[in-house]
Amino acid sequence: MRRLGWLRSTVASTVVAAAALGVLGGGEAAAQGKQLTLCWAAWDPANALVELGKDFTKQSGIEMKYEFVPWTSYADRFLNELNSHGKLCDLIIGDSQWIGGAAENKWYVKLNDFFDKEKISMDDFVPATVVGYSQWPKNTPNYWALPAMADAVGWTYRKDWFSRPEIQSAFKAKYGRDLAPPKTYDELKQIAEFFQGREIDGKKVYGAYIFTERGSEGITMGVTNVLYNYGFAYDNPKKPYQMQGIVNSADAAKGLEFYKELYKCCTAPGMTNAYMQEGLDAFKSGQVAMQMNWFAFFPGLYKDPNVGGDKIGFFVNPAGPKGHFTQLGGQGISVVATSDHKDDALAYIKWFAQPAVQQKWWQIGGYSALKAVVDAPDFPKSAAFAPQFLESMGIVKDFWAEPSYAQLLLDMQKRVHDYVVADKGTSQQALDLLVKDWTKVFKEQGKEVASQ
């Protein structure tokens, strides 16, 4: 009986304690007020967004909580969350390619009415970012996100190495022209070959760093920068989803071949599975002369004490024989349809869209897509990489944004990596197989795929 009595008193105490905690907890929550969770990738601009968000909290009293996931698992983590109708995120800065799936599956709140009500006009944003991050179907006035982080692939180079007289004269002697940031991919390859294996300050350096990552999106986001400029397109603009002869055209095959040549001739050893971080490491450690990477990282690189400042230069993705484009990156910010705090989330978007906030966003390390910011006369002088960023945003192309984008992306990852890194087959065979894979995916999606 004594034992039961002890049990009873313990239960009673626990209940009382729990109730007390509940009351206290409730009181604390009430004191804290509202809270929003924003989901994004864990990278430099996310830290800037945390800083920026403090102003929102100050103004609205709404606490901001952040869920940042590394890029390599960003898509897996958040698409899983959206697929399972989770309530982790109120706001999400989702990748541009998710927009089709997010709209069709109703993962995001459609923002048209909200934009109309709050007088937020998509005409105020850079057109490529509106099409890339907000619209689904593309080029229709159906908006599912506000352009949040404009981004594209660009290049950094070692300005200090390029400007050394002995290096300049050696280059001129070999190629008969001045050593300068490349305008075309042929020039880039020449420069990369020139630096490959060269000894600078007693250290062996390498020509170029390019994306080769296999697991998520790396090699695709790298190779497309060459493919676009060699004549590759995703489909026939006049016949949507007709890919035969477009994706696997002879020109596209030449582009793929070129990427492989660049990888073989001019990259550092062991770069068989490398993406953003490996590129930053290679550049910061003084290993490479030129680096392909996203503009999002350039503010951080410019500030780097070893390779930043006067030592770093930036250039736009070089042109190819068939055009001049670059891969679009970046994301839009959306309200998650399953969120219990949609009104607060919309209030955040309204606040974020303000020109003053967008201006600050650019100043502290984010990339605004608002025309008022990027078209301002002093914008090109506002950062060392601003002119290149501005030019790049005018020539961007993006990967498929279909609901089935993940399948399309993984198929391309496989076919390109098989050819470029694993030496399997020819470039033409790789692209032929890619057309076969993509045709199958679209047919499963119920699309009509014309063969010619």
């Binding site: 697929n83 050893p269 062991g270 770069m271 068989t272 990596h417 890194v421 999606q445 119920g446």
Partner: protein, 324 residues
């Protein structure tokens, strides 16, 4: 009656302070319940849990394998597609290639682990100075998480800064940056075998050690009396008597390696190209990256049946060996 009996078999009537009403209350509580019912009462929560987290998902997965469900396009109507997913998988060259890659990985790694594990067990079975210390050192790799192993081997194998390439360079004279263990088609499959063997040979050693320790000393004593050589003793006593343990180790390791994912994913992500893309990596990509739920359910069933069937045949063989 001694003290011990009193404690182990308490007789309430004879123990002061314990009164009869307590016993009758307890009896009333279980009144009407048979032993069988009480047994079910105890087992029921476990069965319910098993049904909820194992059996129900399995049945659900079987159902999904006959559909076109793709979670990234859940707005499309769910269609019953019969055996289409199974036909797609079994006629897909890539799937067969992945199975071949997996089989090569399983056979090579398990064979190496058995040879090295058994060799280590023979060494550790002897008494020598620092025996416990060396046993602990050998067992360390298997105590690590596969994620940790994958990450630190990635660093060890890095062509420019990793010590592994420098060691090979020291031994062979080949420049350290001239080869990439995880990035070259010819080396990557062997790299995953090497790392897996490093991690799991100690596990095989433990099982073999249990087998070696179970051999009675008198058998060796009899062999000594018969003047059998050490080699003869190994072939006629040690090996035959540890074979069931070795077979058990092979079974455990083969099942584990057939579903190997984490370590290989961290080391190579299935690359270069698809060189080390084991079937488990393919399955994960189909299910959680491409979101092809119907297709991946069918693939999971095919893999389950394959492993289950092979394991059953193997266990029957193991039992026959034991009976001998």
């Amino acid at each position: 009656m001694d003290t011990m009996t009193t404690i182990l078999q308490p007789d309430h009537a004879t123990i002061p302070g314990v009164s009869k009403p307590v016993k009758s209350r307890a009896a009333r509580r279980v009144h009407g319940l048979s032993d069988r019912a009480i047994a079910w009462l105890f087992v029921a929560p476990t069965i319910a849990l098993l049904l909820a987290i194992n059996i129900f998902p399995l049945i659900w997965m079987i159902r999904l394998s006959f559909t076109n469900l793709n979670l990234s396009m859940s707005y499309l109507p769910l269609r019953f597609v019969g055996l289409d997913n199974f036909r797609d998988i079994l006629t897909d060259e890539d799937v067969w290639f992945r199975l071949q890659t997996t089989a090569q990985f399983v056979i090579s790694s398990v064979a190496l682990q058995v040879v090295i594990g058994f060799g280590l067990a023979l060494l550790i079975n002897r008494q020598f100075r620092g025996h416990s210390f060396w046993t602990t050192i050998i067992l360390l790799p298997m105590m690590l998480s596969p994620a940790v192993v994958g990450n630190f081997w990635t660093l060890l194998l890095q062509p420019q800064i990793g010590p592994f390439n420098y060691l090979i360079s020291l031994l062979t004279g080949v420049p350290p940056s001239s080869f990439s263990m995880t990035g070259q088609v010819s080396l990557a499959p062997w790299t995953i075998v090497l790392v897996d063997t490093w991690m799991w040979a100690p596990y095989v050693m433990l099982i073999c050690l249990a087998g070696l320790r179970s051999i009675p000393d008198y058998i060796y004593e009899a062999a000594e009396v018969d003047r059998a050589s050490a080699w003869r003793q190994f072939w006629s006593i040690t090996l035959p008597m540890t074979v069931p343990f070795l077979m058990l180790a092979v079974l455990f390791r083969a099942i584990e390696n057939f579903k190997m994912f984490d370590m290989v994913n961290l080391l190579t992500s299935g690359g270069p190209g698809s060189t080390t893309e084991l079937v488990s990596i393919s399955l994960k990509r189909a299910a959680f990256e491409k979101w092809r739920t119907g297709y991946s359910s069918a693939l999971a069933i095919i893999l389950f049946v394959t492993v289950f069937g092979a394991a059953n045949i193997y266990v029957k063989t193991l039992n026959k060996v034991k009976q001998r």
